[in-house]
Symmetry: C2
Subunit: 197 residues, 2 copies
DNA sequence: CAGGTTCTCTACCAAGTGGTAGACGGACGC
DNA sequence: GCGTCCGTCTACCACTTGGTAGAGAACCTG
């Protein structure tokens, strides 16, 4: 049976381990063991730990770009419905694979260069969202506000929910899938209420 | 001159270093150097790294409990004003000392026991907030909703903003103090709009 | 002064870290 | 057959980690 290529399996385990436990806390050896291979094989595919981290971030960026782009292109014309779609889209990967957005937690602790690289890939999406919000606000179909502020706030909330389920547990909230979904729906309701013209 | 006690200075540096860079990423030696003392002195005051982490979490809990309790007791009767005060209160320590709430990021990676201990200290506050929301909803002074849901959502947003300024930078938002304040104010506006009866 | 307590120090340890050098074995084209 | 990649391996390196043992200085109290 043609197993999945070692490189992919390494990348896969790295996303989960880095996301759940933090980049610095996870050793190459641990990743290797999870894959069922020796550490030196990991270093064969990724010449250094930093290179592995970079590859992991690229994976995340790929997933986010695909998902959000699709949501932005949603056919519905109503801006409220469209915003709804983007929120749901961002939550998709986060709920299916918590470690993915869990990596967001690592951004402040990684090399500036790596972060800058990720940012340059996401920036166009953010700009598109901001421009869209602005357009609809001018048209009067959304309440007037600083569109960048709204985007940043929504982003912060989504990452706050998606990347900190343990923190939510601390305030007595269930971190399971149903709990996250209810939270997401509430957020959507909030946004509708706040942005309706 | 009677310097501040070594123990306090260690605790102080530990809060910052753990908060900004992560518990696993910071070594006892690094903390010791920041204080201007040898690693073994740190181990004298805190018999193990885990003990130091526990002490740090206690510090955080102390600060949060004081600040939030004061805000809940705010004299104003209007629930919207009161909620406003709590949001501002939670943001206070976060803005003055980002590392404090930055520690929230670590919760999912720490010993369950340590997290449970922190949780048991914060839980009463959360319950008080939830109970208050419920009361005002029943009185009809707030829009009907699941109070626990509202609390969790607000909490997620606050931590999302306060603990992930770097992530916000990724979407093109300024992480400086003014930027955080504007974001906080926008959040307060959102909450008012969404909770007004 | 003596005797104990409090605090920080030097010296050391076993275990684990990211990374290098190079051997081994199997699959391939010739 | 034979050389040549490719992928994984063993062996090793210098360095850092959390933690232990115990010396020694500075301080009290008698």
């Amino acid at each position: 049976m043609p197993e999945r290529p070692t490189r992919d399996r390494i990348l896969d385990e790295a996303v989960d381990l880095f996301g759940f436990r933090g980049v610095e806390a996870v050793s190459l050896d641990e990743i290797a063991r999870a894959v069922g291979v020796r550490k030196q094989s990991v270093l064969y595919w990724f010449p250094s730990k930093e290179a592995l981290v970079a590859a992991v971030l690229d994976t995340v960026a790929d997933e986010l770009v695909v998902v959000i782009t699709a949501a932005i292109r949603a056919s519905d014309d109503d801006p409220l419905v469209r915003i709804d779609a983007v929120i749901r889209a961002v939550f998709g990967p986060a709920v299916r694979r918590p470690a993915l957005l869990g990596l967001v937690r690592e951004l402040g602790r990684l090399d500036r260069e790596l972060v800058e690289r990720l940012r340059s890939r996401i920036a166009p999406l953010v700009e598109a969202c901001v421009a869209y919000l602005e357009l609809e606000m001018e048209r009067g179909r959304l309440r007037r506000a600083d569109p960048r502020l709204v985007a940043a706030l929504a982003y912060a909330t989504v990452t706050g929910i998606a990347t900190e389920p343990e923190a939510l547990e601390t305030v007595g909230w269930s971190r399971d899938l149903a709990g996250l979904r209810r939270l997401r729906d509430e957020l959507r309701g909030f946004l509708r209420a706040a942005l309706a013209p």
